[in-house]
Symmetry: C2
Amino acid sequence: MQNRIRAVVFGVGTMNSIATRLLLEKDVDIVGALARSDEKVGKDLGIVAGLDRQLGILIERDARALFERTKPDIAVIAVNSYLEDAQDQLMACAEHGVNVVTLSEEALFPWKTSPKITAEIDALAKKTGATITGTGHQDTYWVNIVAMMMGSCHRIDSVNGTVSWNVDDYGPEVVSLQQVGTTPEQFGEWLASASRPPTFGRNVVDALVADVGLTVVTQTTETRPDIAARPIRSRSTGVEYSPGTVIGFTDVDQVVTEEGITITYQMSGRVYDPHEYDVNEWEINGEPDFSLSNGKVPTQISTCAHLVNRIPDVINAEPGFITIEKLPRLRFRAFPLHTYVK
Amino acid sequence: MQNRIRAVVFGVGTMNSIATRLLLEKDVDIVGALARSDEKVGKDLGIVAGLDRQLGILIERDARALFERTKPDIAVIAVNSYLEDAQDQLMACAEHGVNVVTLSEEALFPWKTSPKITAEIDALAKKTGATITGTGHQDTYWVNIVAMMMGSCHRIDSVNGTVSWNVDDYGPEVVSLQQVGTTPEQFGEWLASASRPPTFGRNVVDALVADVGLTVVTQTTETRPDIAARPIRSRSTGVEYSPGTVIGFTDVDQVVTEEGITITYQMSGRVYDPHEYDVNEWEINGEPDFSLSNGKVPTQISTCAHLVNRIPDVINAEPGFITIEKLPRLRFRAFPLHTYVK
């Protein structure tokens, strides 16, 4: 019998507070927790994660010291979005041979947007036997389910996806990254000076292209601000934004491939009006045509469930920076998570 | 480099006529074709399949003689639906070490409905190195896409699927199996005396349960006739059925599992009114809830594309009766099919 899985909760914000409960419900042993802020460090994980009970796990600040002491099987990371910001966390894990699932959006497929950092983490992880994987809602709904539908086609001319997510579901860090509360002028300046891809549609399309095995001829990104048409209140910041204020943005990522397939992916991350909900809509044109709609999409919980359900696949995988096209199709975890580890 | 794939087209009806074109467009070498009827045997496959050109392949009747002479890599079978009827074809393939993709609906997961025949074919295939797999539209849309969505859930209480298909898309054999044109009384007598599961919803649910790794506590099937409410013409038979006539039937297959998940699958195969189309609608209730709709579903072409696109997976798989939960996630075949063979 496989031993129970020993996990570290890395970052205790909105998402990992949910993931903490899911891990416990799947019989994972949480052996440590990490956060940056003074309000969290030293407090019990159960209290900070809103479980209304102590878990006997005091939140710490020093990842390397925690890994050294507890030797966990996996770190569940929910801290930031870009690989540049995540580099030190991932290197700390790789150094100590600790496997990683992270919801860092760029980590879904960072080989093209941050090739140097990715290769560095990959090389170290291969040495120590760690597997580093980015996952989340996008794993199934923006990549695998689309690639699976593509697999059922004889010929494909174009693939068109339209998705949205509510920035209020992901905490203040994401609200700020989405430029919520800026003016259109400030947004334009930010966009003109952005040193990195402004969002993660690029990484989703890169993951899909890698999964299907296509070769990119041209790749473009267009970014436009989403502007409040009427006063709109953010749950996350508590601020009511007046009409004309930026409440997020929409990216349109497009690739044209050597194989004659054009993939267009439009993703909007913004503050929602009360009547709005997350969508996931796809159309494939070819022989035959296919469409897909997931109705009202629970992106937030889905991301947390992916973080947890992917853990056995990540532990079972080869070492290195292993992106999702190299993992098996995700399966439901009806039993304690360690029973799925080979 | 892998050699080109050598295929035999086994059965030249509605479905394999389409599959013949798809195989050629994916650079598969068709080395033989098999049919039963006097109108087809001796004629050129290209003409019978409606390609308007000769392929230099004369349709034969004797599978064993053809396999002996041509030693194909794969037989693409589109002849019948039940394993009892398909047994001799599959044994002929297994005897000669010829891999199989078949659209036989029961073959999708026959281990529970025909365990003895399946085990016999499995044992022989293992000896000769052949892989036998049932696939079709149901592979992706009624099993894998559902299991993948289940994989994105933390907890599942119930899974509900509603699908339909137009019997007119599959030729007269299927029209007859669906009891089209009978009276409700005749239907009732047929149902009461049926020695085998009246339809294939059972096999879809069995495949899904096997994929997810659940244990069945109870399993039920309810079958009700679909009755014409107004005159309705079948494209396939050319007959106009009067109100009150049976135009197909609907099955509701339900399993309750030890893991607390109830799966309910409702499938209707009937003659359509002009405004009707195939549907694929799923709801998962749990944490979180998920729904899926594929809009207007092209079930017929999808089945043919699965027959072709699954060939590399089947050739790559271990020998035996290998059901789809043991195959990798289906991928689009952008390149000649043999380039995907390991």
